[in-house]
Point group: C2
Chain length 440, copies 2
Amino acid sequence: MPGPSTYFSNDRLDELSEPTRLLVERRNRSLGAAYRLFYDDPVEIVRGLGTRLWDAAGTEYLDVYNNVPSVGHSHPRVVEAIAAQAALVNTNTRYLDRRLVEYSEELLGTLPRALANVLYTCTGSEANDLALRIAKTVTGKQGVIVTRNAYHGVTSETALISPSLGGEASIAPWVRLVDPPTGDGSAFADAVTAAAAELAASEHGFAALVADSIFASDGVHPGGAPFLGRVSDIVHDADGLYIADEVQSGFGRLGHDLWGFTRHDSALGAVVPDLVTVGKPMGNGMPIGAVIARRELVDEFAARGRYFSTFGGTPVSIAAADAVLHIIREEGLIENARMVGEYLTTGLGMLAEFHEAVGAVRGVGLFLGVDLVRDGVPDEHSTLVVVNELRRRGVLIGASGAARNTLKVRPPLCFSTADADRFLTELDSALRVARTAKAI
Amino acid sequence: MPGPSTYFSNDRLDELSEPTRLLVERRNRSLGAAYRLFYDDPVEIVRGLGTRLWDAAGTEYLDVYNNVPSVGHSHPRVVEAIAAQAALVNTNTRYLDRRLVEYSEELLGTLPRALANVLYTCTGSEANDLALRIAKTVTGKQGVIVTRNAYHGVTSETALISPSLGGEASIAPWVRLVDPPTGDGSAFADAVTAAAAELAASEHGFAALVADSIFASDGVHPGGAPFLGRVSDIVHDADGLYIADEVQSGFGRLGHDLWGFTRHDSALGAVVPDLVTVGKPMGNGMPIGAVIARRELVDEFAARGRYFSTFGGTPVSIAAADAVLHIIREEGLIENARMVGEYLTTGLGMLAEFHEAVGAVRGVGLFLGVDLVRDGVPDEHSTLVVVNELRRRGVLIGASGAARNTLKVRPPLCFSTADADRFLTELDSALRVARTAKAI
């Protein structure tokens, strides 16, 4: 029997129930080898509401994983917005659309004034791809700095700056890797300084730092704000651009503000990235992303060619995004993320007292990383046992980090303290199971 | 006063009605300089049904341009499929989803058997980007052949093979350009042979030919089928892959079959691309695209890394795509495209007898290109006069081709002969206006 995994292995086909096995086999034939399913026993989701999902047999799951349906699965107001607009018309941005303009103004109003233009895409990958294209075009340089286990997308270009996909061997020659921030972020700032200088002196030149404001794929590293302000200055001093990847940290998840980088505002000044990229929760599941940029960068990019995306910023996508932005405000989801995030952090701290396996608990708002360790070293095996045991107990969660030993806690933003209690109770039980489980 | 254009110029702001001018100005401020609006007098679309669109003032337009809402604007069955699935749940492909499997099987059933796996994206750009990533990974080569005014997408990678975006200077060193097919396609085949040999002998090597099956951005060139079968053999003999870009020609538009490349099947055998990319009409406006590939290519790609797209193949997108596939069949839209396409071709031929400005009429099904000429040379100015005059007359159309003198006729597939009559009548009038308009 193979060891436990976050993802289903075909070696386990015989362990599945007959209907599940048949569906997985059909899926394997048509989708092929590049796709993966969660869990040793995959889940067939057929319905969702708020923080809950249900499988085909009617079993209920608490969703502690999905950061896309951030205002809650099947939020009636988002559903209604999509249905109403789809029934009216769904064209493209080459026609005038009043709501596109109004939503754009509202979105830009949540960001520093210098970020004056928004360009719509369908995914976070496309947003990071476009941000890189703008940054490289405007600076005339190629070099990019990212963190050691960064993930910024699956297009050809963004895969080249995403070591989490294919390892360090898969990244481009013009990419430099730095460790994610720890402590007060000084080491991170020093590493960016050195990498920028090294790139500037190379044939590639230095174009940009791309930083996920919560360093999710590196294992969730909020670091001690406000180091990103200093890092932004370092990048600018090296004539580079600072691209804030808010695909995961954006739209209120960190419980502070809509944006992750504003956690780093300080008496020294507000943090103002040159380009901000957004995606995942923007339309609660509708495929919409965006690049928000300084106007002068867009002007210079536009001088060399125009931008158009067939599906980017279409009326139905904007209707969903517009509903999401209003729901976040009107349902107080940022404050909820802060409050429930603190409640969870406290609860996880209490669990750590009873379970040696629980190491560091990091994060802010509803984006927490919980390291599982054994004798002080990362324990991937126990992490995978816990992930699969939680799935059996009706709680959906995933793992991340370079050592795959970090539980990613990033539920919909409407997660309640009662949801948190249920999660903590089941996690406690899963940790007990993991303790008695044999290592591979 | 600036000359007429397919796109709005800010030099014309003062010519607009007060409400339109104010909205355009607000749009300019928030979306910035990279975006463009159609027509000298932009249209604010607020409603659509079938082949009709309505602006904010209630004026009706006949849509001869939009190939995305291919089963018709706001088709009730697509709207209902989207609304129903959005109300149930919208997750991702890492959970089991029966309809995803069923739709995938159905889609693959429409393609040659060797094309056994489908990978979902959100856009045609992402599909072409992923196809290139797979092709380059599997062949270990970089070199790509495309046509002289090709358009294959707006990601960093696909922009490098899209001379129509930024001219020949903007394409990558590993790209070779060939003229689009004319006549029996012999010259095209010879050009591909030479380019493949040249790339194979270069440091880049030869990875793939990417060919839009209708050569839309080159000005619509169906060529004399079955030359693509020969070209496919040439590519394979040079150890390259043939990527059929069906983003525009796919899903029945050519009135022959669901796919453009099957027009080239012959007694010598069926045409079987290595990778097929789809997008635009796949979900009638829902952002969904896909790469359909030979299984062995996906297997080899998967051995180096997995594929996941957050929004690719989500339940709501699949619901829309599933509805579209069934509507195309049940409403006989392929047959309609063939029949109305022939009717339009005949009608355009008749117009050519009365208007010297009408040059070649090319195309198949509901994808036609009509060249406007003066003394036998491309006449961009008259083309732009006609495009804007048609807009004033309630008919929406666009222009393409390297010389910008080709009217692109590619309406929703439910376009009727009555729609065709209205279009031909208005085009006749617009041509009369253009004849009397002064050249710049």
